[in-house]
Structure formats: C-alpha cells, structure tokens
Amino acid sequence: MSIGEVTRADVCALAIAECFRDDGEIMVSAMGTSPSLGARLAKSTFEPDLLMTDGFNLLLRRALPLGVKPSDSDVEGWMPFGAVFETLWWGRRHVMMGASQIDQFGNQNIACIGSWQNPKAQLLGVRGAPGNTINHVTSYWVPNHNARALVAKVDMVSGVGYDRAAELGPKGSRFHEIRRVVTNLGVFDFNTPDHRMRLVSLHPGVDLQQVVDNTGFELVIPDGVDTTPVPTPEIIGVLRELDPQGYAQKEVVV
C-alpha cells in the first residue's frame, strides 16, 4: 500500500500503542503481530522508556521492525524466562495477550473450547495468563471481533476478569488491572461502576450496530461514543518502517 493510505490495521496499531501511554519504565510483553507493532510504535514515539524483548531473552534498546533479528548493538540487557517470572511477580510489566474468548468482565480464555476435562478443542492452555492478570496490568487484542470471541461466559477462565478479582477481596485483587481491549472494530475498557466492558471508541467506518451485533453480551455504551483516532502521516511513516512487510495488515479483519 502507499504511504498515504490509512488502513484499519493502522488504526488498530495506534489504539494498541495508546494502551501503553504513561507506562514509563516497565517491561511490555506484546503477544502476536498487531500487539508487537503497537508496542513498538509506542516505544518509537511517545513512550521511549518502555523495556521490550526480542521475544526470547534479549532486552532491546530500540524498537526494531517486525521480523528483523537484533544485532549486538541493539541489545541493552538480558531477560531469560527466569527473569521474566521475577519481573511479572514484581509487577513491573504490562502484557497484551490474545483472547480466544473474553467476557463482559474481562475473563479471558486461551485454554480450550468445551469442558477442560474433555475439550472439544485444546487451545494453547492457560500459559501465563493466570499469573499475569493477578500480578500486573493486562490488555487484550482480538483481531476478529465476533460473538464467538466476545462471549457471555468463557469456557475456561485463564486470564482473570474483574468479577473474579472482586471475589478475592481488596488484598488479592490489588494488582489486577485490565486496561483495555482493542479489537478490529473498536476500543473497550472497564471504567464502569461494576467493571463491565464499555465501548470507548469505534474505529472509523464501523457503526455501533455492527459492534452490538458481533458481541455476545451487553456492552456498556456511553452517550456520545468517540471515533478511534486516525494515525497522523508522521505515525503512518513510523508504522511503515516498523512493519515493512505489512504483517499487521494481513492480521486485521475489516
């Protein structure tokens, strides 16, 4: 695509980057293509103090384009898995994970479809989702917003949502925060009295009914829903540098 053309994937990448605004000097772990791009955009522009790895064990001093292997001069530190666990228990981390299912309180499932004992489909398993969500800030990315992904009840709670966190009381839940959910249709948060998911903004070209029809629970819809900001030409330039192959363009369903 040309530099001047702004796509839904670009809007999503900026919306993802905005999840990390004001995070400062903490580690961001962004799982998947668009989250990786968005996090790198944040680090390249308004949130330079973020710490990010190569996805393996190196902390990198700058955001590299997707698919580019770091050279020695890109490295600033060491983050093997043992240190990742220490960091996440320490709480200085913001993770953006995917969600095969997510419900109105932000409970996330990446483990299985059907009962866990006898799954219709085994997915990734809970991986680090339980520990991540109870220890530090979490956001989610859903590239294909539909009623099978945004569901009334998830089949297995991998990442902990606000209702489950509330049951733990103020001590157990004090490090729990689900900052935002970004999908291919809009941006959502949980800034409501009972922490139900709220529509924050619709991406340009998406109408409210489309979101309602593709969500398996009742969203909180405030008066006067915003439109998700469109990246400036300067931001588009950075995005093209960070994703020259257009991986994120292929991921986002329009």
């Binding site: 064990n57 398993g125 969500t133």
Partner: protein, 281 residues
C-alpha cells in the same frame, strides 16, 4: 572423583513403569531428546512427565507411554500447540495437570528446596484452581492475612536434561542465552541424568564459556552421556538451531496414522546412532 560417563540406555534403565519423570528444556528448546528416544525404545509405561512441555510430552503421548502430564504448556514454539498432545487431550486419553507457567516454576523450586509448597498470587481467581482441586490456598500468618495459592512441590523420581558441554564428573554447561530451569529439575529429582553435545575436560569446560554458563554441578547428576545431536530436532544453540523441516514432518504425523507408524519405525525404533544417521541422510 567419580567418572559418571554412561550410555543413554544405561541412564533410562533407572526408569520403571509408573514413575514420574522430569524433563528439562522449554517447549522445543534444548530438550533431552536422546533420553526420550531411549525411553521409547525401553517401552516403559504409565509414566507421569513433569515438563515445560514440547515434543517430549508429544512423543510419549503418541507412543501411549504417558499416563499423566504435568505442564505449564505443551508447545513446539514455531507450532504453538504440540499436535500429538492436542490429539491426546481431545481424545481424553491423557490425565493432565495444567498449571500457570509461573506456578509450575514454584512447584519445581518447592521440590528442589524440599518444601511442601511455595506461595504465590498466580492462579488466584482463575480456573486453574477449579481444574486442580488438589491445589489449596494458604493464609499468610502475618498481619496482612493475605490468601495465596500454595503450589505443591513437583517432586520427580528421575530427571533428564541436555547441556551443550559437560565433563565426565557431571559438571554441565549451557551455552545458549537461556538456562531455563534444568538445575531445578535435577534438584527436584531423586536421580538426574545429563546428556550433552560433547564431553570435555574440566579445564576445557571452565574455559569454554562464562562461569555463569556452568548451570549444573556434579552433585546434581548421577550420570553423564555424550550424545551429539541429542536435543535434535529441538534447538540447542549455539551448537544448532531447531530442525524446522523435521519438526514439521513430526507434527504432521499426528493427523496420519500411517505416517506416524513410518516415523516411529524410522526414527524411534532404532538406536541413537542410527537415528542420527537417518537424520543426517
């Protein structure tokens, strides 16, 4: 001091039916695959495997030797979900203990420290506690009174790990950029065995990398085996990367009984040296 050199088959002779086996490495990274292949040859059954799982769990699922898997995940990395494990789970032929990845680490640490459990917040509020009713919570005895998950120790009978280098005494060196938790697997076990790409003199071992790479000391292991290519087809940097082509071939056998039988005959019902020859050709 004791020369602990032995063969893979001598090492797996320590494993009998129904035992709990700890496997080092991570996903499809530096897995002690020569030991896994030896376990297949031995035909030992009803095993419980404790692992940050990869093809170790997948192969033992496919051969029907695995009764129970205790894991933080089971992945081939470039293939996010281990296909033989997926099949076993969806056919409900495997008993599974699925833990948060960090809970798994604390279970290993508890075993290594001879503690019954270690506390953590990880798991609170999630269905990990629902699917694992044996895992209980504990209340802090201090003023905070916080309720935490008491991750039970992951004690194992025999552990297997693979290093880049070792000496004949059982000192082992991981030259890759991530040590994973192989030292804890050894300490969580009654007996541990280490394979390596190359056995060298202690002098060469110490000068062959930074001191921090000497992850395993000789107290931790009962036997050392030189198995060049012993982590194949998983990665073992800097000696070799993952054999992605071979891994794809392996993964495809989960959907094709005939292909699995052919794979098994060619690569698993042969000695380690025949395996390495078959892979090289």
């Amino acid at each position: 001091m004791t020369d602990k050199r032995m063969t893979v088959d001598e090492a797996v002779a320590e494993v009998s039916d129904g035992m709990t086996v700890g496997i080092g490495g991570w996903g499809s990274r530096r897995k002690p695959m020569a030991f896994i292949r030896a376990l297949v040859r031995k035909g030992v059954k009803d095993l419980t495997v404790v692992s940050y799982g990869g093809p170790d769990i997948g192969i033992l699922c496919a051969t029907g030797q695995l009764k129970k898997a205790v894991y933080g995940f089971v992945s081939l990395d470039s293939i996010p979900l281990e296909p033989h494990f997926r099949k076993a789970r969806q056919n409900a032929t495997l008993e599974a203990v699925e833990l948060d990845e960090g809970m798994f680490l604390l279970g290993l640490r508890a075993a290594a420290q001879r503690l019954p459990f270690l506390p953590t917040r990880a798991g609170l509020g999630s269905d990990v506690l629902e699917i694992n009713p044996h895992i209980k919570t504990v209340r802090s005895p201090y003023d905070d009174g916080e309720e935490l998950v008491a991750v039970p120790a992951l004690n194992v009978d025999v552990a297997f790990v693979h290093m880049n280098r070792a000496d004949a005494l059982g000192n082992g060196q991981a030259l890759g950029r991530d040590p994973y938790f192989d030292n804890l697997f050894c300490m969580a076990a009654k007996k541990a065995f280490m394979s390596c790409e190359k056995i060298v003199s202690t002098d060469e071992l110490v000068s062959g990398g930074p001191l921090q790479s000497l992850l395993i000391n000789r107290m931790m292991v009962s036997g050392v085996v030189e198995t060049p290519g012993g982590a194949h087809f998983t990665e073992c940097p800097p000696d070799y990367g993952r054999d992605e082509k071979f891994q794809r071939e392996y993964a495809a056998t989960a959907k094709d009984e005939a292909a699995w039988n052919a794979f098994r005959a060619k690569y698993l019902e042969v000695s380690e040296s025949e395996y390495q020859k078959a892979v090289a050709s």
